[in-house]
Amino acid sequence: MLSEEAVRKVARLSRLAIDESQIPRYADQLSSILQHIERIQELDVEGVEPMAHPLPLNNRLDDDVPNEGMPIEDLLKNAPSVRDDYISVPKVLGEGSS
């Protein structure tokens, strides 16, 4: 059984605000998913190549030819808040994420 603390952590990492009262229910649902995975893990895959993708395809590559992109109006009209030509968000400290 997934602990309630683990549920809170997953929610926090996903930036989901969940109601405390719902936590036991999520713990139950997530646990059943994990149990299903555990069953799959019982399979003997000795000697089977790990599969990186379910489709038998590789190298779907485009040539490096730029297109037009989309008009800035279309981008900004979906933003919750806009300042000049930027999307504005609450102040973030530091230079960036990467």
């Binding site: 489709l55 989309m70 300042r83 930027y86 999307i87 960036g96």
Partner: protein, 501 residues
């Protein structure tokens, strides 16, 4: 408080380098790439499409050129190119990352296990191991400055950079001097520029450095302690790289004395760099900031590199800057510092070599001198590279031939170069047509020399008495009479003959 004396203190640094690749379009969509010179000044949020903005239903498609540029860098760094690599999602939330994950390569990088040799400032050759080089996408940019200069109270998101192909190169912790890290960074920049994968403009963030730094100290009581590793993020100048490492070298010893903390699980921390105060600054992070939950990206299929593709890319690999430098010094007799400048631009290096090939190895020094002095001055004034002056290798060789035959005076070189820029005519044709060739009429030269001596009695007398400095005045007079059509060298020789015996 530790007050044990330290017998030896050794710096240990590994380096991560992010290189923005200058493909024309982005990594996983064909919207223009801000790291390409054609699009670098695009207004904010104009290099965006539904994939970049992560609108529902969009799917990524790989950029062939980005994969090939990465292979090229990998090969130049002596890496093995993975025959099979795949894409993984690195999950975290940040306003510069619309999808909520960055597409990267986690366990199967495109390039791995290479090495890069550097020549240190002390003249030693050092091998720096390369662990891996993998491909990923850059994030958008966060700023606080509004157009016009005022400061915004929140953060401003510009997604132009989001999705730019990013090659992350990771070295082994093989550095023990800050200076060597800087040398490596500079040399890697020359290499990547030479390969044409980036402009390498540091101020634009084309290359960003993240050193991982700690100390190994042997104490008086025989113990060996290692301080916790510090990663300094996002350094985009060599001054900052040097400064951050030197600051950590001092700071970590002080911290160890105060806290006794040693390297170990969970002891790693992240610092930023304050460019004004020249100090590293601890970045506060949430405890689960590094819980990225990597998993394979189901939207992208793997990259499989077969022999044919690998050989096709390998065939594009030019002779590298370091090898060229050595050859220029050993085979052509160039000065080390001239060889360094010649390989900084691939176009310049190729112009130089083509010019030498037109003449012979013996003219290489003169060609280098012409390119790095008069041509470089002209390029500087025009705000372009020497190879962009519109002067061909044949024309350069032509200038050198005229010089070697004493048919072109030093004072006429600039004028001839100006004519050659943008003309297809040969150096000789232009010089003849514009009257730049040296007059070899001996009797005319003789007459001008006599005239100069007559007009400058005192100077002539001084030269007769061995004060050779006075000859300049006479040479000047002849040059003036000839309208610059004689070579100063032959004028001086002519005057000497008359005044000394």
């Amino acid at each position: 408080m530790n007050d044990v004396a330290i017998r030896t203190k050794r710096l240990k640094v590994g380096l991560e380098i992010h290189v923005e690749l200058q493909t024309r379009s982005k990594m996983f969509t064909r919207t223009p790439n801000v790291a390409h010179p054609d699009f670098e000044d695009a207004p904010p949020n104009t290099l965006v499409d539904p994939v970049v903005a992560a609108l529902p239903g969009t799917l990524p498609v790989m950029n062939r050129a980005a994969v090939e540029m990465s292979m090229l860098v990998g090969l130049a760094l002596g890496c093995d190119i993975a025959r099979f690599s795949k894409w993984d999602r690195k999950n975290y939330y940040y306003p510069d990352l619309p999808k909520g994950y960055q597409i990267s390569q986690y366990d199967l990088p495109l390039c791995h296990d290479g090495e890069f040799m550097i020549r240190t400032d002390e003249g030693d050759d050092r091998r720096i191991g390369i662990i891996r080089a993998h491909l990923e996408e850059d994030t958008g940019k966060l700023g606080h400055d509004l157009p016009g200069g005022s400061t915004f109270e929140g953060s401003l998101v510009d997604l132009n950079r989001a999705g730019t192909p990013l090659l992350e190169i990771v070295t082994h912790p093989d550095f023990d001097r800050a200076e060597d890290v800087v040398t490596f960074g500079q040399e890697l920049r020359v290499l990547c520029r030479f390969l044409g994968v980036t402009q390498g403009v540091m101020q634009r963030g084309h290359m960003r450095f993240e050193p991982n730094i700690n100390l190994e100290m042997e104490l008086e009581d025989g113990r060996v302690v290692k301080t916790p590793i510090v990663e300094v993020k996002n350094l985009n100048s060599f001054r900052a790289v040097r400064g951050a490492i030197e600051h950590e070298y001092d700071r970590q010893e002080v911290e160890w004395r105060e806290t006794g903390r040693e390297m170990g699980p969970g002891a790693k921390s992240t610092y930023g760099w304050d460019d004004e105060k020249m100090v590293t600054v601890l970045q506060r992070e949430k405890e689960d900031a590094h819980d990225y939950r990597y998993f394979p990206d189901p939207d992208l299929v793997p990259v499989v590199v077969d022999d044919a593709w690998l050989e096709e890319v390998r065939a594009q690999l030019p002779e590298l800057p370091a090898a060229r430098r050595t050859r220029y010094v050993d085979d052509f007799g160039l000065r080390e510092k001239d060889a360094v400048v010649l390989v900084e631009e691939r176009g310049l290096s190729e112009l130089f070599e083509a010019s030498v090939a037109t003449l012979n190895d013996g003219s290489a020094v003169a060609i280098a001198k012409l390119l790095l002095n008069q041509c470089a001055k002209r390029a500087n004034e025009s705000g372009c590279g020497v190879h962009q002056l519109g002067i061909s290798a044949d024309q350069i060789a032509g200038v050198i031939k005229l010089r070697e035959a004493d048919e072109l005076g030093t004072q006429s070189i600039d004028a001839l170069l100006a004519l050659l820029s943008g003309s297809d005519d040969s150096a000789r044709e232009l010089a003849e047509r514009e009257g730049l060739l040296v007059i070899v009429d001996e009797s005319q030269l003789d007459a001008w020399c006599d005239e100069a001596i007559a007009a400058n009695e005192q100077a002539a007398e001084d030269v007769r008495n061995g004060k050779m400095a006075a000859i300049g005045r006479l040479v000047g007079h002849v040059m003036k009479s000839s309208g610059g059509s004689v070579d100063a060298k032959s004028v001086q020789a002519g005057l000497r003959k008359k005044l000394t015996n």
